[in-house]
């Protein structure tokens, strides 16, 4: 094989790209993984991960210079001293906001797999059937039975901890032992169960942190600093998990600083021949050829790459024949909920910093419940005792004030909702024909917003949580809401959806681009609806499933 030829090219090294590289190499393919950013080596490059709090010069805060350089990241909690190096350079990589859109990107090896929240939930048939039942958008081309064995497959390798609950809407998986709810959360969960007659479930968050060691990785050490990178390999990331497995095959080549600008389409074979790459450091362009291409550049960038691969056959981009490419942008809306205090339990405290909290599973619009909007939401939160940053009544300065602050305060409880966003054709991304990035490439233009269904749901998210906390005996229960615009859920998806019909979808049931069958899109772009569960586990499962299909098709010489 010539130097620039591979069996498969994987574009992107985040959660789904890492899975594609692992699965394809383990099945014997020679794979090139292209990452647009720099290397970021496991452990060695986790520069802050073992620093003590006092070793952070600004104790977590960011500077006015950083605020100016990273205005989008500063729209929320993502802007913290320890992780500022992780974010994409916003000056080099701008985008256009027709409507407010928050895009938190990490352009380096491993992508957002280092930073992710690790919450890992299966979807159920309620989710896969929702569009068809509600007459919304198009039906998913798959059902739970199609993906279930692949959930098994990825959970076992990634290491997902969780409790077996027997809930049909949130199927159990191949779990490591669960983390624990703390004493107060257990009482709150029991009261919610009683008050709502067993129809509401507050469970421990299912999370990609190890509660037992698996090959090459140590179990979670309860430091809760995951997003700085874990020196113990205690959670799933490309670096801790899929990359070492792919490298071990001897079949993976990784090329950093490789911005894929185009998929090279061959009109005669109606397939992709490979990709064109611009070196982010030297601006040189290169071609790499392969039998198959996996797009795992993240939902919006995978759609960008397809759009930027326009030819005279497909002037709106590869995969654009349905008119749906770049449309149906979804996310999960959140950043609102409630907080309260829990009286008593002064003789209870916790040890260790748990990397997850509680999860209240969906209850709206299911099992006979009916709302004035479609779909539903879950909540993530925790109960804990207040620390030194609390107010102390009647004390303002001095020895007594200080001594009071050295002890834990009252128990508080808080949570945020995570709500489903429907797929709207008019919520879209397009190429901005005028604005260019540092490399002269067209940038994305975002034009998406929450609509009536989501706005109604947001009111319900707050009022239901207040009711549940009060039912559980919490006092001083107050709503809270901070800024949200689409994208800020960091679950952007839907821009190259799967479907049964090439006229209304970009991908088929095996994540193949209808218009170029050796191109697979298995990141968030492929999603036909958003459900309300955190989506990464589903991307992992769909990637492994598509990789298996791709290799079997290659063997049958169908690709």
């Amino acid at each position: 094989m010539p130097d620039n030829e591979y069996d498969a090219i994987v574009v992107g090294s985040g959660i789904s790209g890492g899975w594609a590289a692992k699965e394809l190499t383990e099945k014997g393919l020679k794979v090139l993984m292209l990452e647009r950013g720099r290397q970021h080596d496991h452990i060695k490059d986790y520069k802050t991960a073992t620093k003590d709090p006092w070793e952070f010069e600004h104790r977590g805060r960011t500077t006015p210079e950083q605020k100016k350089k990273y205005p989008v990241v500063h729209r929320g909690w993502a802007a913290q001293e320890a992780v500022m190096d992780a974010w994409a350079n916003e000056e080099d990589c701008p985008y256009t906001e027709v409507k407010p859109f928050t895009w938190w990107r990490s352009y380096r090896m491993g992508g957002r797999s280092i930073l992710w929240g690790r919450q890992s939930y299966r979807w159920s048939d309620m989710d896969f059937e929702a569009n068809a039942k509600d007459g919304i958008a198009i039906d998913w081309p798959i059902r739970y039975k199609d993906i279930a064995p692949w959930y098994d497959h990825v959970e076992k390798f990634a290491g997902i901890s969780g409790s077996v609950e027997g809930l049909s809407h949130l199927p159990d998986g191949k779990f490591l032992p669960p983390f624990d709810l703390n004493f107060v959360e257990k009482d709150v969960a029991a009261r919610i169960k009683e008050k709502y007659k067993g129809n509401r479930h507050m469970i421990i968050g299912r999370v990609a942190n190890l509660t037992a060691p698996i090959t090459g990785r140590t179990q979670c050490q309860f430091r809760s600093r995951c997003w700085e990178g874990c020196p113990f390999g205690g959670y799933f990331s490309t670096q801790s998990s899929t990359l070492p497995a792919a490298m071990a095959t001897g079949k993976l080549t990784v090329r950093p600083f490789s911005i894929v600008t185009k998929i090279i389409y061959d009109k005669d074979t109606k397939k992709a021949k490979g990709v064109e790459v611009i070196d982010a450091e030297t601006n040189q362009t290169y071609e790499y050829l392969s039998k198959i291409v996996f797009l795992n550049a993240s939902a919006l960038n995978s759609a960008w790459l397809l759009m930027n691969s326009a030819t005279d056959v497909w002037p709106e981009g590869l995969g654009s024949s349905s008119g749906e490419l770049g449309h149906n942008v979804m996310d999960h809306h959140y950043n609102l909920g409630a907080t309260g205090t829990i009286e008593g339990y002064e003789d209870k405290y916790t040890y260790g910093r748990r990397p997850t909290g509680f999860y209240i599973t969906r209850f709206a619009n299911m099992n006979g419940d009916k709302r004035d909007y479609l779909r539903g939401f879950g909540y993530q939160g925790s109960a804990s005792r207040e620390g030194w940053s609390r107010e102390v009544a009647e004390l303002n300065i001095g020895a007594d004030f200080k001594e009071a602050l050295t002890e834990p305060g009252s128990w508080t409880i808080g949570a945020t909702g995570f709500g489903e966003i429907l797929p709207y054709h008019e919520n879209k991304i397009t190429l901005d024909k005028i604005k260019k990035d540092k490399w002269g490439l067209p940038v994305l233009s975002m034009d998406a917003e929450l609509k009536e269904n989501e706005i109604k749901m947001r009111k319900d998210i707050v009022s239901e949580l207040i009711a549940m906390f009060e039912a559980a005996g919490a006092k001083n229960v107050n709503p809270w809401e901070t800024y949200y615009s689409i994208g800020q859920g960091i679950h952007e998806m839907g821009t190259a959806r799967m479907g049964k019909d090439p006229k209304t979808s970009v991908l088929n049931s095996n994540n193949q681009v209808w218009d170029a069958k050796n191109v697979f899109v298995t990141d968030g772009a492929c999603m036909t609806s958003s459900a309300c569960q955190n989506p990464s586990l589903t991307y992992m499962a769909l990637t492994a499933r598509a990789a298996d299909f791709a290799v079997s098709e290659l063997k049958k010489r169908n690709l």
Partner: protein, 189 residues
């Protein structure tokens, strides 16, 4: 992304935001920092004494031992916007003037009792000001000093390991740890 950071922030949202940590909702409205404000060694000693009055040495070291004055210098220089920097620097003078007015002695020459009674009244003044100010108005200088004292002290090695309990690698979790009055809080959450 690790939304546990968000959950930690819920507390911040309810407890009042950190000065200099305002979320910018759109674009950028910062002027470039100009290097016009300089902390002298005397300023840092002064701020250490303010800090020590807020969090004095008890069974654990006080704010001065943790050099919160030096910490305030770094934070005001590096993190504060120019308008807040100016208020902070003016605040040093205002605090000293208030001390002279109340006790006829400069803050550095005042007794511990005089310092404490002054800061109690300034704390009251600052709280009232914060509650009534418009959102876009700057914070009271004493709110800045107190906030930086608390942050600087409880995240310092002295504060985190002696006033509080710090364990870098807990290794396990216990959600039902017995607690008795007097047990110290954990330094990190």
């Amino acid at each position: 992304m690790d939304r546990r950071e968000l959950l930690k922030m819920i507390a911040v949202v309810t407890g009042g935001a950190f000065i200099g940590g305002e979320l910018l909702l759109s674009g950028c409205k910062n002027a470039d920092t100009i290097g016009g404000v300089i902390f002298s060694t005397a300023d840092i000693s002064f701020l250490n004494e303010v800090g020590e009055t807020i969090l004095p040495a008890t069974s654990s070291p006080g704010a001065k031992a943790a050099n919160v004055g030096g910490f305030m210098k770094v934070m005001v220089n590096d993190i504060y916007e120019p308008k807040d920097q100016a208020i902070f620097h003016e605040g040093i003078i205002k605090l000293n003037d208030a001390c002279k007015k109340a006790h006829s002695v400069s803050f550095m020459d005042a007794t511990a009792e005089q310092r404490a009674s002054l800061l109690i009244s300034l704390d009251k003044e600052a709280k009232e000001y914060q509650e009534n100010k418009k959102k876009e108005d700057p914070s009271h200088y004493f709110t800045m000093m107190k906030q930086l004292t608390l942050l600087g002290y409880f995240t310092s090695k002295e504060g985190a390991t002696q006033a509080l309990r710090y364990i870098a690698v807990p290794g396990k979790y216990n959600g039902d740890l017995p607690y008795k009055k007097g047990d110290k809080a954990w330094a990190t959450s």
